[in-house]
């Protein structure tokens, strides 16, 4: 009954705090949409300047969405690229072809280079065939690509979004629950609470349930928004996605409450973000873990987000089932239990009992 009184109070307080509610429910959707738009944006067509290139090659290049600007004579390729804002310049001098790239963005430069290379190779092959008619009987080699996960429509966002969903749930729940209990500490109401016959465990339970319900609502909104509105790939079951996120929210909740014991102000609570939250992003699988040093991989194992991101990616992108992710879920449960027990001890600072 004391627990329900505390939960009721947390609800009353949070429901009247419109800004915090907005942060909890609207901010993750906003950021998720923003990232979706950014990662899915159609890349603008690269602009390639050409000098002395025959029309056939130019047409092939145009076919694969490369914008072509023809130049009669170029003395300084670098300067031409800068002057005409080109992405690259292809100059033919007899047998030799020179490609100069702007390389302001390495990824798109590589892509342009590859395309140009392919087109030139293809043309060279065709020229060869036309000169030696016997060769035309050789079957044309074609490469067909198949995918274990996703398809050729897969974009980076599809791989990234499961991790992002997990991260937003973790981050916002961590921040709001941490500051929620911190406020109770700094205003002295926590001390006042402990002068009543309430048990420490009851306070921790009430906070977990009270903020947990908000975290649950947030999780459901974020997951449904990502899947229905943003059309993020979901191969596995949505229930598994919800279970992972709810467990992650519980970890974030208990960690936030716990760390608030070591912060003297809201400002100090925010200082925990670069220490306790940001490093988790690096180990969540955005950067492939396999390439990391062994000791770095070991660090990943103590990050809750690592397990959640792994499970989320498994379910949403690879279509894994419940039994495949059970180890990750177990890891999250262990984190939550440890943090919750530590919480009950951390409250000892206020009352011996």
């Amino acid at each position: 009954m004391r627990i329900s009184a505390l939960i009721k109070r947390i609800f009353q307080q949070l429901l009247r705090d419109k800004r915090t509610l907005a942060l909890l429910f609207v901010a993750p959707l906003l950021i998720l949409s923003l990232m979706y738009v950014m990662f899915n944006g159609n890349n603008s067509e690269p602009v390639l300047g050409v000098v002395n290139i025959d029309d056939k090659l130019v047409d092939t290049l145009k076919e694969i969405d490369i914008e072509i600007e023809k130049f009669e004579h170029v003395t300084n390729p670098e300067q031409t690229i800068l002057d005409y804002e080109l992405d690259g310049l292809l100059v033919s001098q007899g047998e030799q072809m020179d490609l100069t790239l702007a390389n302001s963005d390495p990824t798109s430069s590589k892509a342009l280079q590859m395309k140009v290379n392919q087109v030139i190779a293809l043309q060279a092959q065709e020229n060869l065939v036309s000169q030696l008619p016997t060769l035309s009987e050789i079957p044309k080699m074609e490469l067909e690509t198949n995918y274990v996960y996703g398809s050729d429509d897969t974009v980076f966002f599809d791989v990234l979004s499961p991790i992002l969903i997990g991260f937003f749930v973790f981050f916002f729940v961590f921040l709001i629950s941490g500051i929620g209990l911190l406020k109770e500490r700094t205003t002295g109401t926590l001390e006042r609470l402990l002068s009543t016959p309430i048990r420490r465990g009851e306070i921790v339970t009430a906070y977990l349930v009270g903020f947990g319900i908000f975290a649950m609502i947030q999780t459901v909104i974020v997951v449904f928004f990502a899947i229905t509105v943003l059309d993020v790939t979901l191969e596995g079951s949505i229930w598994n996605v919800l279970i992972i996120n709810l467990l992650l929210a519980l970890v974030a909740l208990s960690l936030g409450i716990l760390l608030s014991a070591f912060a003297a102000s809201e400002f100090q609570m925010v200082q925990f973000i670069p220490v306790a939250v940001i490093p988790q992003i690096f180990f969540s699988g955005i950067i492939p873990l396999e390439g990391m040093a062994t000791w770095l991989q070991a660090i990943a194992k103590i990050m809750p987000l690592y397990y959640a991101a792994d499970a989320l990616k498994g379910v949403m992108y690879q279509g894994l089932g419940f039994t495949d992710i059970i180890q990750n879920l177990l890891a999250l449960v262990i984190f939550a239990v440890i943090f919750i027990i530590l919480n009950v001890f951390a409250l000892k600072k206020y009352r011996a009992l």
Binding site: E191, S195, I198, R351, A352
Partner: protein, 241 residues
């Protein structure tokens, strides 16, 4: 009357600073006991130990015959902290109802106690306002109402009348005295205000973690040949040095 609170030889230090030094005290049930002393004297620490929020390094405290800290006993102790600790997003009534449910009052009791305590501190008309809109004095009064919400046997008030106007202060003191004499409650008060000290049954003057002197207001005045409490306090302080 039996002893309500027994403090046996307690000492407490925070780091190197000795906050309480071998304090002994027995507080009779059904009396008003005043702790008087400058800020930093150790009054609040002593009070927190009686409530069980702090534990002494040495010595022991018994409340109603049970050793503190004890969770069950907190049901019988109403506590008003020195600074107002209230939930400012909630209304006065919601604050009262919240604490009432922490003490596990049922609905009828809650209604009744909210009506009684809010009338006592003259907040009945402002119960549905958010505490954020309260004035300093109103917050103080609400804190007092919360301390009384579960009808405790022992009332511990840390500077209850700071920021309350003289008329209401008088009304509150009259009510405290009524609670003592009619309902037999034990009331422990800390105060700076010397006129309030005179209304207590017993007084302990606290300074530098020690009890300088104690007794009924008249005993103290006689002992130090003083006309008022300011003088008692000054004389007692000098005598010790």
């Amino acid at each position: 009357m039996t002893q309500s609170v027994e403090i046996r030889n307690i000492s407490k230090r925070f780091g190197k600073k000795v906050v309480l030094n071998e304090v002994d005290m027995a507080i009779k049930g059904g009396s008003i006991y005043g702790f008087i002393g400058p800020s930093g004297a150790g009054k609040t620490t002593l009070i927190k130990m009686i409530v069980g929020m702090d534990s002494p390094d040495h010595g022991s405290i018994e409340v109603l015959g049970t050793k503190m800290p004890n969770l069950k006993l907190l049901q019988d102790i109403g506590y008003m902290a020195q600074s107002d600790v209230l939930y400012t997003e909630l209304t006065g009534k919601e604050n009262l109802a919240f604490f009432a449910s922490l003490y596990q009052l049922n609905r009828a009791q809650t209604e009744e106690r909210i009506a009684y305590t809010s009338k006592l501190v003259n907040l009945t008309d402002d119960l549905n306002k958010k505490v954020a809109l309260y004035s300093g004095g109103m917050k103080r009064r609400l804190s007092l109402a919360i301390a009384l919400i579960q009808n405790p046997k022992i009332l511990i008030l840390d500077e209850p009348t700071v920021g309350i106007d003289p008329e209401l202060r008088l009304a509150i003191w009259n009510e405290l005295i009524r609670l003592k004499s009619e309902e037999g409650k034990t009331i422990i008060v800390t105060t700076h205000v010397m006129e309030e000290a005179e209304r207590c049954d017993y007084i302990a003057m606290v300074r530098d973690g020690r009890i300088l002197t104690r007794g009924t207001p008249n005993e103290l005045k006689e002992a130090y040949h003083a006309r008022n409490f300011d003088e008692v306090f000054l004389h007692a302080g000098r005598a010790k040095q």
